[in-house]
Symmetry: C2
Subunit: 401 residues, 2 copies
């Protein structure tokens, strides 16, 4: 039998990066490749207690189907947290609870993307977003970045180009501690971006999974806090601050867009786990979240510092890298003659160290072959030190050759 | 701002039936409209104990990201259960864990449907499946049913018609205790269907949420058990037997299709809640599921009998209805002159009783206006009796007029 696959399914392929990285799951490998939180930070005792409370007090509702929008008390708690932390003015009604931020990307694709539409993305960008958009047969226009984030002058050029087209795309951006680069957009750039969005009537999809993981530098408003026209569709998640295995994310969008997203979600999975939503609600409203974020910020700050210090002392001078104020990634640029994929193969084989070759995050094949993404949240402090030292040895040898 | 919605989103509308049924959520209304399990049957004590065990023993994994395919031990447990209960020959590798069976429908849509494709469906059919397929801009060809299930001769006619087209569709069916009719396909019809599928090289999507809820009659193999060619994509769920709020479903499909579904799921939500998957795994492998299914079968059998008996004594003779051997729905046919939507409005207003007007489940507007779906799993025994008696009063009055 030859199954009658859809066009999108015929194009679906396992990414060769993922295949390459399967090698890195062995416990002997020191891996900087993933994007996982540190499991030692999981507040499992609190989750344990709260799950018992929820089941005993509320099982009739917590084990039943819930509304598609999400558990109302959780929606209120999420809106309140956003508004307190980020000075947004989000109403609980504008929130839809999703299965991680990734489902937000799926729903946004459903609501905005027709086949062949061109989506504006930072280049490089988050791989999972590119995959979500590709599944809806989108094309991409990449906007270059520097250490101040997305280059707004280049964005304007791209927007001018698209003005002539009938269907305008949205811009997908991770303005704070971007995946993969760790770079944050400066306040000035954010303002410029919002002005451009207004001038060109552009929808902005703001993905902010790391916004609360700041270890240095000044707090920065998310674009949603600067949005007076309801054009920012904001994606949040508890994956990086509480637990990814709970799969709680959310979208905050103005009424019309939110309504479409809910209709799309209804046909997609009816609702997100009620039980988990009840637990998450208690976790936030009983004050655990505030303590948890303090705790992981302290842990990740140490890990970031250790990785940067190790890179400073172990990497050859010709290798440069970002010094992010938060998040979980550092972006490395090797000298042009280094092919990051080849380096990965050798570093796994010879030194049992892994990272993600940076070309995976670029929209065109062959871009960024001299770059790499390093994660510092998951590996232990000892392994960060040891892994960077080992990679430093290879790099020194190869660059000398 | 006018958001640049996709074509599919522009067509997305809140169903008027849902709007109508919002009225039925008031506690005073006796509602036969939903499709909810009886919350008094939720095994909350076991879920409570198991969640604590899982979190204490396995939090490092249970709160972390999991693989897209799902938790391996749960996949094995699901395959084993299917094979024991239904004599299928499903391998754990062929299983992908989803957020309810509804997500299975979303992933299947992604993998098989191009805009404009015509999907074969029973007419009437499950509303959530129609919504999932519509989101991918599918069209429908309805195959009529009788008390023996989908009419295979009519299916063959439809298949002949589609043979000329380049892209062949799949057939979506709920062969056992169908939603909305409660009807099951006879063994003979199942055999005919599998022969037709083989002859016309047809993919069958078999949705089996109620397969284990049998109260009378002989056990019937699912189509998947009769599938020698890997053409049945099977959808299962724990929503009706354990808890819908946990959102655990699965798809069982042959290797090639399963692979595509996993790639689609990766872009859709990365993975299903690991924590919930760990709990579900323990629930099944520690023997609770077997006891639970016995328990709910006893409860739902009583409720079905009470509803049928009440209909027998309270409904006028001209009203007919199915006598399902399982599941959670009874399908009612009123005399032609009754408009089910109008009846619903009056019965909510005058007698505070609700049901779903049957036209909602048909693929063409205006079909089945004299039909209705009644759920007996959610309301209490007393409310079933009282609600049917009240509706009987209205019906007698109206049919006499």
């Amino acid at each position: 039998m030859r199954p009658p696959y859809s066009r999108r399914a015929s194009q679906l392929k396992a990414s060769d990066i993922r295949e390459l990285l399967k090698l890195t799951k062995k416990p002997k490998i020191i891996s900087f490749a993933g994007g996982l939180p540190d499991p030692q930070c999981f507040p499992y005792k609190e989750v344990d207690v709260l799950s018992t409370e929820v089941i005993e007090e509320d099982y009739v509702k917590a084990l039943q189907y819930g509304t598609t929008e999400g558990f109302n008390r959780l929606r209120r708690a999420l809106a309140r947290r956003m508004n307190q932390k980020f000075r947004t003015k989000v109403h609980a009604d504008e929130i839809i609870v999703t299965c991680g931020a990734q489902q937000g990307l799926d729903l946004i694709s459903k609501v905005f993307i027709d086949r062949g539409d061109i989506i504006l993305v930072e280049n490089p960008s988050y791989l999972g977003a590119l995959s979500a958009f590709r599944l809806f047969q989108a094309k991409f226009a990449g906007v270059p970045m520097d250490n101040d984030g997305l280059k707004t002058d280049k964005l304007e050029k791209a927007l001018k180009k698209f003005e002539k087209k009938s269907k305008r795309p949205f811009l997908y951006t991770v303005p704070s501690f971007q995946n993969p680069t760790g770079v944050s957009m400066t306040l000035e750039r954010r303002k410029e971006l919002m002005e451009l969005a207004s001038r060109y009537d552009l929808v902005i999809v703001e993905d902010n999974p790391y916004g609360e993981l700041r270890y240095s530098g000044k707090a920065m408003p998310p674009l949603k806090a600067m949005d007076k026209e309801g054009r920012v569709v904001y994606l949040g998640t508890l994956s990086k601050v509480l637990s990814p295995g709970m799969r709680i994310g959310w979208v905050a969008a103005s009424e019309g867009i939110r309504h479409k997203l809910v209709l799309a979600k209804q046909a997609t999975d009816l609702c997100t786990s009620t039980l988990i939503q009840y637990i998450a609600h208690k976790y936030i409203t009983e004050g655990h979240m505030v303590r948890q974020i303090k705790k992981i910020n302290a842990v990740y700050k140490r890990k970031r510092n250790i990785m940067l210090k190790a890179m400073d002392s172990e990497f050859p001078e010709e290798v440069s890298y970002t010094r992010p104020d938060g998040g979980i990634f550092i972006w490395v640029k090797f000298p042009k003659k280094v092919n990051s994929r080849e380096l990965l193969k050798r570093s796994i084989k010879k030194e049992k160290v892994a990272f993600v070759p940076g070309d995976a995050f670029f929209i065109n094949e062959g871009e960024g072959l001299d770059t790499a993404r390093f994660n510092f949240s998951y590996p232990t402090e000892e392994r960060i030190q040891e892994g960077i030292a080992r990679l430093g040895r290879i790099l020194k040898k190869e660059l000398r050759a």
